[in-house]
């Protein structure tokens, strides 16, 4: 029987199972092979904070959502076309995502009495008819895996841990993914240390693929054409990886060492891990004793004439508040990345939220303005990091970069930039011109309000800086009232002046005026952009502005906002940007808040836009 082939524009697959079922790995590998195949991708890993959460429970389910398609894919998708559920708990927690008629691939062994009880099922959904609205593929994985690995001598437990490879092979067949690319990845992952495991995994991968070919499944085989990508070199990349590469590239362009200090915290630890592998690239990684030390060490490195960077999440970011004030007073170039997660306190450490915006903007003692920029997509973390470093080094200031758990772990297709094409970075190092009658003045500012960077080792430039208020120009300690106000204003003016250099805000999509404007920042970009595009296709008068710069705001933003009758600000917080826009521009902006540790969906935004315009 020849299998029917169907061409579809895009597909969303959710891999769900126990934390130990290899769902993240399978998902990542399928994402990579899809990107390699020429599709655009977006992913959303969603896993419990516990390393090995109790097996079979609802709380222990780990999932990986992958959206790949033949157009520009901006989000991991609201719903899925395919759900892989390795046990009853995985089905229960993710079935609501599966479209009616969607493909449901189930591991029969995960639906025995124990698993059903742990998931809270009184009847077995495999047999009670409740899944009749879906295309069902029920696999007896222990048997299929056992048969494929019969002569290997591997234990039952070892075989059990590899079952995800069989499913991956089957999906590769269903969605026409090149098996040899998956084979290469599996080989690369295992063969160095565990050649026997590599061989077994490859066997299962092929067995799954051939199972698709031979088992006469009642499902067509899908083709997803390539996305029309501009010419270039591509790879898939996560937000945290992109962040690291952005900083390494910036330091290289500036001719400086990159000092990175971090204290382990979810979801920022990956940045520390990646930095720690990059010693040959003039990276100086340092695992500090706490986040206070991490930022202080970065400040020390900046005093020494190099780029200081640290990354953390909300709780660590709070610990850094005092040292951020010091960095403002010293006027030294450091970048602090806050990979936001759901708070307050420990909150939900692996779940995304945008509720640190006001802390980033205002969470310090004294008058301490700091540039704040936000990354929009995982791949955009590269540009955001590069830009944060550039601003820090050009303006001798700390810079805050906001990312979140959604961007940090999510992956994107990335068109790799040519470092030559990136803007140059030229720090304002002190020269003899910064001396008057032979004396060096550390706070003698240039036309941008930026002080010169004199570093230890430079003879004749010895100077002392500190947290005490300094006298304008000389930098000597000063308690003079008028000088203090002057210095406060000079520091603020320096940051405000950055608005004259950054690009003017553009309308991300839609007309320059209309009935409704959605304003977003950070990781909600994909969902908001997709929803606005969909509504515009429906003929609705809606536009979208996405902000990269949150401080200083683009000079023309107020003007743009006033061209719309209504302004909605969707955020994963209680309305932080809304407050800022209202206070700053006296516009009647309204929040759309979601504080569930989950990203925004396109459909909820589409409904919001429709409802808002209906009630006009």
């Amino acid at each position: 029987m020849s299998t029917q082939r169907v061409v579809v524009p895009d597909v969303v697959i959710v891999f769900a199972g126990d934390s130990g079922d290899g769902m993240q790995l399978s998902g990542m590998q399928f994402a990579h092979v899809s990107a390699f195949r020429g599709n655009d991708i977006a992913t959303f890993p969603n896993y419990p904070a516990e390393i090995r959460a109790p097996q079979g429970t609802l709380a222990g389910v780990s999932s990986f959502q992958l959206h790949f398609g033949s157009f520009e894919v901006l989000t991991p998708g609201d719903t899925c076309d395919v759900l892989v559920a390795m046990n009853a708990a995985a089905l229960k927690t993710h079935l609501h995502l599966l479209k009616r008629g969607g493909l449901l691939i189930l591991n029969e062994a995960g639906f025995d009495r124990r698993y059903l009880r742990l998931a809270g099922y009184s009847e077995n959904p495999l047999t009670d008819g409740s899944l009749s609205g879906y295309q069902l593929i029920v696999l007896n994985l222990p048997q299929l895996v056992g048969a494929a690995l019969a002569d290997t001598g591997l234990s039952v437990r070892e075989k059990e841990r590899m079952k995800n490879m069989f499913v991956l092979g089957l999906l590769a067949w269903l969605f026409d993914r090149p098996l040899e690319v998956l084979e290469q990845m599996v080989t690369a992952k295992f063969s160095a240390r565990h050649p026997e495991l590599a061989a077994a995994n490859l066997r299962l991968l092929r067995a799954g693929y051939h199972f698709g070919e031979t088992s006469e499944l009642l499902t067509p085989r899908y083709e997803i054409p390539q996305a029309p990508l501009p010419p270039g070199t591509y790879r898939s990349i996560s937000g945290n990886e992109a962040l690291v590469l952005g900083f390494v590239t910036a330091a290289r362009k500036a001719g400086l060492k990159l000092f990175y200090a971090g204290y382990p915290i979810t979801p920022a630890s990956e940045v520390l891990h990646q930095m720690s592998t990059l010693l040959p690239y003039e990276v100086y990684p340092f695992q500090a004793e706490d986040e206070i030390a991490a930022l202080c060490a970065a400040i020390g490195a900046a005093f020494g004439g190099h780029l200081g960077v640290t990354a953390t999440s909300g709780p660590g970011f709070s610990l850094m508040s005092e040292a951020l004030g010091l960095a403002v007073a010293l006027e030294l170039p450091v970048v602090v990345c806050d990979i936001q997660r759901a708070g307050p306190s420990t909150g939900m450490p692996t779940k995304p939220e945008q509720a640190d915006l006001l802390q980033a903007l205002y969470g310090r003692h004294g008058e301490a303005p700091i540039p704040v920029i936000a990354a929009a997509t995982p791949a955009d973390c590269f540009q955001a990091a590069y830009e944060a470093a550039r601003i820090a080094l050009h303006y001798m200031t700390p810079v805050i970069l906001l990312s979140d758990a959604f961007l940090a772990n999510g992956t994107d297709l990335w068109r790799i930039p040519d470092p030559e094409t990136l803007p140059p970075i030229t720090p304002p190092f002190a020269t003899e011109q910064h001396k008057h009658n032979g004396t060096f003045y550390p706070y003698w500012r240039n036309e941008h309000g930026v002080r010169p960077w004199a570093i230890p080792g430079m003879s004749g430039f010895e100077h002392r800086i500190g947290g005490l208020e300094k006298e304008h120009i000389t930098g000597n300690v000063s308690y003079d009232p008028a000088n203090h106000e002057h210095m406060v204003r000079l520091r603020a003016a320096k940051i405000e002046r950055i608005a004259h250099e950054i690009p003017l805000q553009t309308v991300t999509s839609g007309d320059l005026e209309g009935d409704l404007l959605l304003v977003s920042w950070g990781s909600t970009y994909g969902a908001v952009a997709s929803a606005v595009q969909e509504c515009r296709r429906q003929g609705l008068s809606v536009s979208h502005i996405h902000l990269r710069y949150l401080n200083p705001l683009p000079r023309n933003l107020g003007e743009l906002l006033r061209n719309f009758r209504r302004i909605l600000v969707p955020e994963l917080n209680s309305g932080h940007l809304t407050q800022l826009l209202r206070a700053r521009y006296l516009v009647d902006a309204h929040p759309y808040s979601k504080i569930q540790g989950l990203p925004l969906t396109i459909s909820e935004l589409v409904e919001l836009i429709q409802a808002t315009l209906r009630h006009g």
Binding site: T233, R235, A293, I416
Partner: protein
């Protein structure tokens, strides 16, 4: 940055043009003068020296030095210094801290810089009180000490700074005092030359909030009986006529009075012996109880590699073994081209 000077520098060349603003009679003046003297003795170029401090009276120190300086935030000087040293191992970095700054709010950073053996010189000015905030107890204040925050007398147990530093893994541990300039100078000189984290506790008199806290050790009439000046290779002798000695019976130190010659069982100081150093750091008996308190270099281990050396070794090795090409890094292992 070659360490050669066109003309010899004097202690004055290490002073800044800022007016020194400690209280009259403060022990800090003597320490400032001796640090400047030691730097001149060693002829270290001014531009290669950095003083980093936290908050407190002692932490104003960098402003009075003609070198590079960073007056940081409360307790965090060791963290700032660590970042600086990792990217600039060529610099001579000094940390100036006090008993509140270094042992209370900054205790965590202090133990970690010692544990890591970052090549810095740490001077802890101990006056057993908070001065700048007007006289509250510090982590080294003595039980019974009456202050605005302990009006009925402190009932807290104090830290013993040299024991704490030694336990944290310091490779150089010393104690000295503001009122013995020759001793101060020689200890500071040793500390400055030490390769690794050097910790020096300096008994420093606060004439305003805790005057005379260390007079038992610093004043002519009581000093000989209470202060034991340790020197590598020399017997541990003290007393007005140096007629008393320390001996070790097993792990128990005892005081013996000598008749004429120094008997062979007298404890001869070996600053490289960590076990004996551990015992010396524990001599914290109150003055007048018979046991003296040791001053001088209690422990020195010049052999343990510094944190920067270990990092630099890794940099060199990995840079030879691995590519350093930025384009290759950006591409990663799995990439493809769209024509």
């Amino acid at each position: 940055m070659a360490e050669t000077l066109s003309s010899p520098v004097t202690p004055k060349d290490y002073a800044s043009d800022q007016e020194v603003r400690w209280c009259p009679g403060c022990g800090d003046y003597a320490i400032l003068k001796q640090v400047q003297t030691v730097l001149a003795d060693l002829q270290i170029p001014r531009e290669n020296v950095v003083f980093i401090s936290g908050i407190g009276c002692s932490s104003r120190f960098p402003y009075y030095m003609g070198t590079y300086g960073l007056h940081g935030i409360h307790g965090r000087a060791p963290a700032i210094a660590t970042g600086l040293k990792l990217v600039r191992p060529d610099l001579h970095v000094w940390i100036i801290t006090g008993d509140g700054d270094g042992l209370s709010i900054g205790g965590n950073h202090l133990i970690h810089i010692l544990r890591r053996n970052v090549d810095v010189t740490i001077l802890l000015f101990n006056n057993e009180v908070y001065g700048l905030t007007k006289g509250q107890i510090s982590p080294t204040s003595r039980p019974g000490q009456r202050t605005p925050s302990t009006p009925w007398g402190s009932f807290e147990n104090p830290f013993n700074p040299v024991a704490l530093a030694f336990a944290a893994g310091a490779t150089f541990v010393a104690r000295t005092m503001d009122r013995d300039l020759a001793h101060l100078r020689s200890v500071l000189s040793r500390a400055a030359l030490h390769r690794g984290a050097a910790f020096v506790e300096i008994y420093q008199n606060c004439p305003v909030f805790n005057d005379g806290a260390f007079f038992a050790y610093t004043e002519k009439e009581s000093k000989p009986e209470n202060a034991l000046f340790v020197e590598h290779g020399q017997p541990l002798l003290f007393g007005v006529q140096r007629q008393k000695a320390l001996v070790l019976e097993g792990t128990v130190p005892k005081v013996v009075t000598l008749s004429e010659e120094i008997p062979p069982e007298v404890w001869v100081h070996d600053e490289t012996d960590p076990r004996k150093a551990a015992i010396l750091t524990q001599l914290m008996d109150a003055p007048g109880t018979g046991f003296p308190r040791p001053f001088g270099v209690i422990y020195a281990n010049p052999d343990r590699p510094t944190y920067e050396e270990l990092l630099s070794e890794k940099h060199q090795r990995l840079s030879q073994e691995h590519p350093t090409d930025l384009e290759a890094l950006l591409r990663g292992k799995n990439y493809w081209s769209v024509p």
